[in-house]
Amino acid sequence: MSPADLATTSDTLAWLAVVSYVVAATLFGFEFAYRTRWFGVAGVTVTVAGLAANVGAAVTRGLAVQRVPWGNMYEFSIIVGIITVTGFLVWLSRRPEIRPLGVFVLLPAVCAMALGGLVFRVPAGPLVPALNSRWIVIHVAAAITGSSVLCLASVFSILYLVKERVERRQRPPAPPLVAGAARTADRVEVDQAVARHASVWSRLPSADTLDHLAYRTTAFGFPIWTFAIIAGAIWAQAAWGRYWGWDPKETWSFISWTVFAAYLHARATAGWRGRRAAWLSIVGLATLVFNFYAVNTVIVGLHSYGGR
């Protein structure tokens, strides 16, 4: 196949992957809502097919451009899909009971990929000289992996907050206060309404489990992110003559690193464990998303070639 054919194949496969993930997410969503095993099994099958297409899209893109397929935002988005979904499947093979959570993993991955394909798509092409280094393999791969894993951790933190709220509302009401008997009656009514609406969310794993999952995922992603920053610094030293220069991309990577470091400390600090820590993780997610989308496109810096 010619490079042009390969590039076209890659685009087709990428969209095929997106469609598969949407279908799979829907199936997992049904399993989550209706507790029908069949949906989940079908969801896994479709996810695996989508992953195959996704990997195919990256490989053909790489062959078409004769380099690693992560040279711009569109290509990153494809890789984000692969990493998130592979991570989910690996983890599913170890803990099958988390399958219905697939909807919460696949949806962000699909959004990232679709946004990449719709907004940041660039034709297959070579890299500018500044990117021609073996460090692009190491630094960018680590950055995509680290940020994908940390985003996943934040998704668990969001789910934790949801479930924690549900659990708090479902706790038996406190003994009525002398002056608040009427209010307590209202409160029971409210609690019942909440319980009705919260019925779907109450199917999430326990808040403790989700909190633990979020922590484990962060503990996995944080060293990778640290390594990505260090690898980036080594590359910057080789390419620009300084390992750190507060370029906006560097600044935001540092901000994300600081926030997730704060999260890890928060989980060991009385008064910050639980909800506050989860919020820190969500702030971390926001910084990662901002770093990827806004810093590449809006803010002028040395990393601006990532966009269009």
Partner: protein, 531 residues
């Protein structure tokens, strides 16, 4: 952290002592070195860093700071006073990270001391094992001593540090977690020290060298130069650089492929030290100075003679500014000894093409490859105001009027007459290379610190601390009843299975379970002991 509960010392009939200044300070110090303070400072540091990316920074893009001043004349001076155009060098940013570092040191010292103390002491006794949440019990036909022997072997294999307290075996492991965490934090400190040291004693500058020329490493040779606070003028390494050749290439779609300088380093006497091809991502090191390829441009050589053939401007190398998007370059020639003075605006095309050959019906376009160089000259005459400071790349046209009504086009080697009879010759075309030179003596320190930091990070998150106690008592029928209890400081969800596995290994090691014994391995719902 140990929580001690003691009955209040003060007698009930006397009011408690009012806290003095010492108590307040001690309390403040304790608060300062707490994890909560570190946490808040981390968040504040992150928030402060955001400001540095929202406003243009003096160190990164001074032009954009100037632009900001032009766009917001009222606001900009206020922001400047607040240090928002140099956030990472501002006093308040420094205050935040110094506070964080102080808290870090204040926390690391007692933690290191505690770790040393714990490493020097024996694992503590467990006491009443029934109090622990995680337990396992079994009965074995072996004698109690044999069962204890098996437990010792199993725990030693599991890398527990062991101690015996009359009949009770205590094991402890996972100190690597704290040690690695300390390594991580100390490395972070060392990294910052290395960063500050490198910044203070290093420098960074840019220099442009024309093909074939030799450049001396002296302060005046730099177009931009930013020394560290402690960098002395005499600290520049004595060497020269000769640009033997510059080359650049493009992909078929006209995006840049590579650009590189063939450089030779010479000592001050002109002896060759080393030669290397320097390209993006391929720097060269001379006398501890790293030399990087940054940019490049074109240098048309222009000669001007008057109507009688007298030379007004000897062949002059004209440095031009290259626009990376179109790959055409602009520059200016100032003929100050002509009367009236003449200024030439130059535009250098690498591959000029006109209407039918250009995409999208553009009247002209440029091929970035150096295939058909053309110099377009627009001439002006009048007063160049050369006594005033001005850019070498442009003319101040306020007191100039056009000379002739159309531009003059020159290929290399060609000459053309201007409207006033003067002749402009495009005698040669060279390239220049922009190099970044930097010296950062902190790099080795930072690199080692970053490596150790990474080395410490993983165990500090994954190693888990455990304490296990084993006791074996005669079951009254020749066998032994073995009790295991444990305490996990981290990774609690996995610990139950871990202890069960240990119990199984001890049972296997001491001759299996006693046949017919009520094997009540599992957990009791006793409250976890707080330490």
């Amino acid at each position: 952290m140990a929580v001690e509960l003691r009955p209040p010392a003060a007698r009930p009939d006397r009011p408690p002592r009012r806290p003095g200044l010492g108590d307040t300070l001690r309390q403040a110090w304790r608060e300062y070195r707490s994890m909560r303070t570190a946490l808040v400072l981390l968040v504040v540091l992150a928030a402060a860093s955001i400001l540095g990316s929202l406003f243009p920074q003096e160190g990164l893009s001074p032009q954009r700071v100037d632009q900001y001043f032009a766009d917001h004349p009222a606001l900009a001076p206020v922001l400047e006073r607040l240090g928002l155009f140099d956030v990472f060098g501002s006093a308040w940013y420094m205050a935040i990270y110094l506070a964080l570092l102080g808290a870090l040191v204040a926390c690391l010292v007692p933690r290191t001391r505690a770790l040393v103390r714990v490493l020097g002491s024996r694992p503590p006794r467990g006491g009443d094992l029934a109090r622990y949440r995680t337990q396992a019990t079994f009965t074995t036909p072996a004698a109690p001593e044999d069962a204890m022997g098996a437990a010792r072997r199993v725990l030693r294999r599991g890398r527990y540090r062991l101690a015996e307290h009359d009949g009770e075996l205590a094991g402890e492991k996972g100190f690597l977690r704290e040690a690695a965490s300390l390594l991580f934090h100390v490395s972070l400190l060392v990294l910052l020290v290395g960063l500050a040291y490198g910044k203070g004693y290093g420098y960074r500058g840019q220099a442009a060298i024309v093909e074939g020329e030799t450049w001396a490493n002296a302060r005046v040779g730099y177009d931009s130069f930013s020394p560290g606070r402690f960098f002395g003028a005499g600290d520049l390494a004595p060497f020269q650089l000769r640009l033997d050749d510059f080359s650049n290439s493009f992909y078929p779609n006209n995006t840049p492929r590579e650009f590189a300088s063939q450089l030779t380093a010479l000592d001050l006497d002109g002896r060759e030290l080393q030669a290397q091809r320097v390209a993006p991502n391929r720097p060269m090191t001379v006398e501890g100075v790293r030399i990087f390829q940054s940019d490049y441009g074109y240098v048309p050589v222009v000669r001007v003679t008057d109507a009688k053939g007298k030379e007004l401007l000897a062949p002059q190398e004209v440095l031009t500014l290259r626009d990376p998007a179109t790959e055409w370059s602009t520059g200016a020639v100032k003929v100050t000894n002509a009367k009236p003075q003449v200024g030439l605006e130059l535009t250098m095309f690498t591959g000029l093409a006109t209407a039918p050959d250009c995409p999208g019906g553009a009247p002209f376009c440029n091929d970035p490859r150096l295939i058909r160089p053309v110099l377009v000259v627009l001439a002006y005459q009048g007063d160049l105001q050369a006594d005033r400071a001005q850019s070498v790349f442009t003319l101040d046209r306020s007191r100039l009027r056009p000379l002739g009504d159309r531009p003059v086009l020159l290929a290399p080697g060609q000459s053309r007459k201007l409207a006033n009879g003067m002749t402009v010759s495009f005698t040669d075309l060279k390239q220049y290379s922009v190099l970044t030179l930097a010296r950062d003596p902190g790099v080795p320190m930072v690199a080692v610190a970053a490596g150790l930091l990474l080395l410490g990070l993983v165990p500090s998150l994954y190693v888990t601390r455990r304490r296990v106690w084993v006791r074996a008592v005669p079951d009254g029928a020749g066998g032994a009843r073995v009790e295991l209890a444990g305490l996990a400081l981290q990774g609690k969800p996995a610990f139950e299975a871990e202890l069960a596995r240990l119990a199984e290994q001890v049972a296997r090691g001491s001759g299996g379970l006693k046949p017919g014994s009520p094997e009540d391995r599992g957990t009791l719902d006793a409250p976890e002991r707080s330490t």
